[in-house]
C-alpha cells in the first residue's frame, strides 16, 4: 500500500490499515528504542503508542502530512522515548511514593468507570470511543455505524453518555467516592 492509500483508509477509521502499518515498520521503529537503551518490551510499547497518536491525528483531521509516514512515525517514537527516559530518570530520583499514591487513587476510579463502560452495549461503546478518542465528527460516526443521519448519531451519543454517567454515579456512591 502507498502512503496515500494508507492515510485514506486510516482517516476512515479502518483498523486493517493500522495493522498493516504496524507490521510494516515494526522493526525500524523498535530498533530506534532498543539501540537507545530500551528493552524490547519498551520498544514495542513506545511504537504502539506512537502509532496510536498517529491514528488519532489522522482520523481527527489534525494532521497535514508533509513527509513520509515512516519519517513522521519515527519522530513521534523518538519524542515519546525521550519523554519516557526523562520520566524514568525523575522517578528514580524522587517523589516515587507520592506518585504511587496518586496513581493508586486514579487507578481505582478508572477501574470502576472501566467496568461501567463494559456494561454498555457495543453501539454505545463505539459511539463514545469514536467521539472522545478518535474525535470523529457526528457525520463520520453516522457513516461508520450506518445510522440514518447525523441527528440519529447525536441523539444516540447523548443517550449513551447519560447512561454511562448514571452507571458511574451509582458505582461511585456504592464505593464512597462521591458525596
Amino acid at each position: 500500500m502507498k502512503d496515500r492509500e494508507i492515510l485514506d483508509k486510516i482517516a476512515k477509521g479502518d483498523e486493517s490499515a493500522l495493522k498493516y502499518l504496524y507490521k510494516k515498520y515494526y522493526r525500524m521503529m523498535t530498533k530506534l528504542v532498543i539501540s537507545n537503551n530500551g528493552s524490547e518490551d519498551e520498544a514495542k510499547d513506545i511504537y504502539q503508542d506512537a502509532l496510536i497518536v498517529f491514528w488519532q491525528k489522522v482520523i481527527g483531521g489534525q494532521l497535514i502530512l508533509t513527509s513520509r509516514i515512516s519519517t513522521y512515525l519515527y519522530s513521534i517514537c523518538l519524542n515519546l522515548w525521550r519523554k519516557e527516559l526523562d520520566r524514568k530518570n525523575r522517578l528514580s530520583h524522587e517523589e516515587k511514593d507520592e506518585a504511587q499514591y496518586l496513581d493508586n487513587d486514579r487507578e481505582e476510579r478508572e477501574k470502576i468507570i472501566h467496568e461501567c463502560i463494559n456494561e454498555l452495549g457495543d453501539t454505545c461503546k463505539r459511539i463514545l470511543t469514536y467521539y472522545y478518542f478518535e474525535k470523529m465528527s457526528m457525520q463520520e460516526i453516522a457513516e461508520k455505524l450506518e445510522f440514518a443521519n447525523t441527528d440519529t448519531a447525536k441523539t444516540k451519543k447523548y443517550k449513551c453518555k447519560k447512561r454511562l454517567d448514571q452507571l458511574v454515579k451509582q458505582k461511585y456512591s456504592a464505593s464512597d467516592f462521591l458525596d
Binding site: L18, K19, T30, N37, E40, I52, F133
Partner: protein
C-alpha cells in the same frame, strides 16, 4: 433542567477541545468560582479520560495480536544499559569562579596566555601571589581573558593590540560572571588530570599575577547550570546535534568520547564540543537537528585548546 443540559454541553466541548482559547479561559474561570460546577466537571473528566484509556487499551490489544513476523525476532539487548545513560546524564564537573561584579576589577594578566592570544592582553609585572585563593583567581582571570578574546575573534578582525587591550578592560568591567565549565564524560579519568594541571602551572601563573588582597574575600563559588547531554542513535543522522528542552542531543556514534566546554561570556553562555581532535560550536537556539561541522578559525581553535588544557 435547561441549565443542566447547558453545563453538560459546556463541559463536553471543553473536554473534547472544541472551545476557542478565549472560551476555554472563561470556562476555567467559571470553574474556579463555582465548586458545584467544578465537582461535576471533575466527574466528567474522569469519565472521558477513562473512555479514552479504554479505547487506547483496545487498540493496543489489537496491535498486540498482530503477528509481526521477522521483525519481532530480536535478541534482548542492553536491558541494564539504561542505567548507564541515567548515570551519564547526571555527570558534570564544575570549576569554581570568582564573583567579579565589582566594576573596578583588577587587571590580571598571564604571559603565556597573552602570547597565545597575540599579545592582546595587557601585561603587568606583579608580586608573587601564592595562596590558594589567589591561584584560583589567577586561573580564572586567564580564562576570562581568553573568553573575551574568543568572543572578539568571532565577530571582528584583528585590531591593533593597544585598542584591544582597552576593549578587554571594558568588557572585563561589564562582565559579571565569567566562568568556565568543563564537563568530561568520564570524571574518574578526567578529574585527577585537572588537579594536576593546576599544580603544574602554579609557578608560572602566580609569578605574573597581581591580586589585591582586599579583593580576596569577595571570591565566591558559583555553579553554572550544566548542559545535559544525551547521545542518540538515529538511522538518518550520523553526526548531528540539536537542543531540545534545554538538553543537548548528539546523534551518532560518539562512544562518550566528546567533551563539552561551556564558556560564560559577557553575551551569554557559549557551548563548544571537543571530539576527536576537532572543536565544534553548538548553538543553543538550534532546535533543529543540524550537522556538526568542525571550527576552522585557527585562532579560535587555539583559544579553545588553551581553555581545554587548563
Amino acid at each position: 433542567m435547561s441549565t443542566n443540559k447547558n453545563y453538560f454541553d459546556l463541559i463536553d466541548s471543553y473536554l473534547n477541545g472544541k472551545m476557542t482559547s478565549h472560551e476555554a479561559i472563561e470556562f476555567e474561570n467559571q470553574l474556579q468560582k463555582d465548586p458545584l460546577l467544578e465537582s461535576k466537571f471533575q466527574l466528567q473528566k474522569d469519565i472521558v479520560d477513562s473512555i479514552r484509556n479504554f479505547r487506547k487499551a483496545e487498540l493496543k490489544a489489537t496491535l498486540n495480536a498482530v503477528e509481526v513476523g521477522v521483525g519481532g525476532s530480536f535478541t534482548i539487548l542492553k536491558v541494564a544499559a539504561g542505567l548507564g545513560v541515567m548515570a551519564l546524564l547526571g555527570i558534570g564537573i564544575y570549576y569554581f569562579t570568582g564573583n567579579t561584579e565589582n566594576s573596578d576589577l583588577p587587571e590580571i594578566s598571564n604571559n603565556e596566555i597573552s602570547e597565545n592570544n597575540q599579545g592582546t592582553v595587557e601585561k603587568e609585572n606583579t608580586p608573587i601571589a601564592d595562596t590558594k585563593h589567589e591561584k584560583d583567581i589567577a586561573i580564572k582571570g586567564a580564562d576570562k581573558q581568553i573568553t573575551n578574546v574568543t568572543e572578539k575573534k568571532e565577530k571582528s578582525e584583528p585590531v591593533a593590540a593597544e585598542t584591544k587591550a582597552t576593549e578587554n578592560k571594558d568588557i572585563n568591567d561589564k562582565s559579571s560572571n565569567i566562568q568556565e565549565v568543563k564537563k568530561p564524560v568520564q570524571p574518574e579519568i578526567k578529574l585527577p588530570e585537572v588537579v594536576e594541571d593546576f599544580d603544574k602551572e602554579e609557578g608560572q601563573i602566580s609569578e605574573n599575577i597581581k591580586v589585591p588582597e582586599n579583593k580576596l574575600n569577595q571570591v565566591t563559588e558559583t555553579y553554572l547550570p550544566k548542559t545535559e547531554v544525551v547521545e542518540m542513535d538515529h538511522r538518518k543522522y550520523a553526526f548531528h546535534y540539536q537542543f531540545y528542552n534545554n538538553k543537548l542531543y548528539l546523534y551518532g556514534k560518539f562512544d562518550n568520547k566528546y567533551e563539552i566546554l561551556e564558556l560564560n561570556t559577557p553575551t551569554g553562555i557559549s557551548i563548544y564540543m571537543f571530539y576527536k581532535e576537532n572543536f565544534y560550536e553548538l548553538e543553543q537556539n538550534q532546535e533543529k537537528i543540524t550537522p556538526l561541522s568542525a571550527i576552522e578559525d585557527g585562532t579560535l581553535i587555539r583559544d579553545l585548546k588553551t581553555i581545554r588544557d587548563n
